[in-house]
């Protein structure tokens, strides 16, 4: 008689189903370990990491060079740049600030900073860097970010003013001397208007080539028209664009698009901010009214001769909008001293100069602007028109509590107005009511 072979072994071997469950558990454990490894902070002990959030990849590259220089001077602090899409920037910033996980320093613009300042989520720059610090910065940007007599951000960039990019080849084909551009005047009175007749000469076939980029564009187009008509867009935290002067400005623009057809149809430009610039770069638009924010793209991509002239004057003169961006300190940051050091660097000529060195943006620190002018002078581009216009009256870039919600609310009415489907007076009245109601909420 023989004993039962390997019975004990058979009893101890796990069942197949148990092995499957174990394998699943091991696989999950491995994946989660990988996640832990991936999330491990590469922060050397004793080093303070300050994070800076912004929305522009090009400027982020300049900041990285600037922060490398900062770390060489402050070896205990490392500054990391976090780029977030502009389209979602202010939505995520809001939840991050509310949730306590916002970066230590973040870019902010005039349109959105008011609620953060009012709720004291930002570092008071005047207290942190001293009362004399703002003297070194672009006064218009300092003004934009001052609320309740306190400055809530360190000015970083300024858009300067708005100007007219022109295609020399299209102008000469129409027999237009670029010198006349600096003396153009728009008006609803045809006997005074010199701009519209010029656009007729430059219009081309009006389907593949246009004279000008009249469009639903707040900064590049309609704020400047409202300003030069003597109107206002906003007052404090309220939208007040339903006024006769603004209506005159919008009527003029809508006529250029839908009656004269010297500008692209609103169906092409209402939702595509790049359309007009690309038409200009393709040599299919003679005049492109915009700011310094498009200068680098035009210089890099235009394959024709081009220049920059003053934007047209209106009934009350030549009025441009100017806008700026500031770096705001997060008042809930766990390392306020390091944040103050980084803000001081960003507001210094040495730290801010990197932003202008590539010509992509105008530094808001006055002593750092030389790098920007030198860059474009070396390229043979005269940027004076963007700055000359600021010597005259300006219309301020809108902002304030509830601006974002209000601006979203007015857009559908403005879209219809620029499409020519809603009367200007009616559109402005309805849009203003909707915008103020949304802003109040």
């Amino acid at each position: 008689m023989t004993a039962l072979p390997d019975l004990p072994n058979r009893r101890t071997r796990p069942k197949f189903s148990t092995l499957v469950v174990l394998s699943l558990a091991v696989a999950m454990a491995l994946l989660l370990t990988l996640a832990v490894v991936l999330g491990r902070e590469s922060e050397p002990p004793g080093l303070t990491v300050v994070t800076v959030r912004l929305w522009d990849q090009q400027v982020a590259a300049a900041y990285r060079r600037s922060f490398d220089a900062f770390t060489r001077r402050h070896p205990g602090i490392e500054v990391r740049v976090n780029v977030v899409a502009y389209a979602t920037y202010f939505d995520t910033l809001r939840t991050d600030v509310a949730g306590g996980s916002a970066d230590d320093i973040f870019w902010i613009n005039n349109a959105y900073f008011a609620p953060y300042a009012d709720s004291r989520r930002l570092v008071d720059v005047t207290s942190a860097l001293g009362p004399h610090a703002p003297a070194a910065w672009e006064p218009s940007v300092v003004g934009q970010f001052t609320r309740d007599h306190r400055l809530w951000g360190v000015p970083q960039l300024t858009d300067a003013g708005i100007a007219l990019y022109y295609n020399v080849d299209l102008l000469s084909a129409a027999g237009v001397d670029p010198a006349v551009l600096d003396s153009l005047r728009w008006s609803s009175d045809d006997t005074v208007d010199t701009f519209r007749p010029l656009l007729f000469r430059l219009a081309g076939d009006r389907t593949r080539q246009w004279a000008y980029n009249a469009a639903n564009d707040l900064q590049g187009i309609y704020l400047n028209y409202i300003g030069s008509a003597g109107g206002v867009f906003s007052a404090g935290d309220r939208f007040v664009f339903d006024n006769p002067q603004a209506a005159e400005a919008f009527r003029y623009l809508v006529r250029l698009i839908n009656v004269d057809r010297v500008a692209p149809p609103a169906s092409a430009t209402n939702d595509n901010g790049d359309f007009s610039r690309n038409m200009f770069l393709q040599g299919r638009m003679a005049l492109f009214q915009s700011g310094t924010y498009n200068l680098a793209a035009v210089a890099a991509n235009a394959s024709f001769r081009w220049g920059v002239a003053l934007l047209p004057a209106g009934p009350v003169g030549r009025v441009s909008v100017t806008n700026g961006i500031a770096a705001a300190g997060n008042s809930a940051s766990p390392h306020p001293a390091a944040v103050r050091d980084v803000l001081a660097w960003m507001g210094s000529a040495d730290g801010n100069a990197y932003l202008g060195a590539g010509g992509a943006a105008v530094p808001a620190v006055l002593a750092a602007q030389r790098t920007y002018f030198d860059y474009w002078a070396a390229k043979g581009v005269d940027v004076a028109s963007f700055f000359y216009v600021l010597r005259g009256p300006r219309i301020s870039a809108p902002g304030g509590a509830g601006f974002a919600a209000g601006f979203d609310a007015l857009k559908p009415y403005f879209d219809e107005m620029f499409l020519g489907r809603l009367d200007v007076a009616q559109a402005l009245a309805q849009a203003q009511t909707a915008a103020n109601a949304a802003a109040k909420r």
């Binding site: 069942k15 197949f16 189903s17 148990t18 499957v20 469950v21 699943l24 696989a27 999950m28 994946l31 989660l32 990988l34 996640a35 832990v36 991936l38 999330g39 994070t51 959030r53 929305w55 522009d56 990849q57 090009q58 976090n82 780029v83 977030v84 899409a85 502009y86 389209a87 979602t88 939505d91 995520t92 939840t95 991050d96 949730g99 306590g100 996980s101 916002a102 970066d103 901010g273 790049d274 610039r277 690309n278 770069l281 393709q282 040599g283 924010y293 498009n294 793209a297 890099a300 991509n301 235009a302 394959s303």
Partner: protein, 275 residues
Amino acid sequence: MTSPSRAASDAAIYSMLGVGAIITLAPFVFGVVTSFTSARQFATGTPLQMPDPPTVANYTGLAEVGFGRAIAVTALMTAVIVLGQLTFSVLAAYAFARLTFRGRDAIFWVYIATLMVPPTVTIVPLYLMMAQAGLRNTFWALVLPFVFGSPYAIFLLREYFRTIPPDLINAARLDGASTLDVLVHVVVPVSKPILVTLALITVVSQWNNFMWPLVITSGPKWRVLTVATAGLQSQYNGQWTLVMAATTVAIVPLIVAFVAFQRHIVRSIVVTGLK
């Protein structure tokens, strides 16, 4: 020989199919073509122009903005969710299909009713839960809301499991199989097509998930592909060539997965009548 009327009807059908194929595929073709176009050509040329010369600068540009990490995070998040969803959904669906317990059907239909709630409605409560638990901007926050199965997956599997002949399961029981044995040896092997389909649906939905990762994470640490792609666009510049390179990179794994498992998917559609 084909009659003239039959030939005409075939021509009409194929023309319609051709138009449908062009409408469906053209955006992908444009995307891939644009990803090999220089930013300068894209800005100055027409959208239908072929790249001249083709460039890989957009792909190298992606590496410079940390796109590699976003791919790793997305892959890891998707893998964890797929593994979790399949495991927990199989268990739950089997319970709802084959186990008998009090209130089973009531629980099932209440659970399935949550399918009617749009995901955007649950985002705020989920966000608050994660924030209260201190999980904002963590890997856990990315995966926890999805890892324990979904009503859709459980519904799909339950319906499939109910089609498995009870005799098969009873025979296994007679052989002394436990519930786990039945699942591993009987139910899962015969449900391969539907499991592959479900895995693929989960991979696609999680790989393309945008809203939840956007809301719950901040910064590059746990940034997923979709959020990183959106981050390529700046205020005054769409950077479409870079964006198209990013979307091309993002769809390649999905196409590979679809091609690899196509046979199983077709079979599951045949078996379940899934539309």
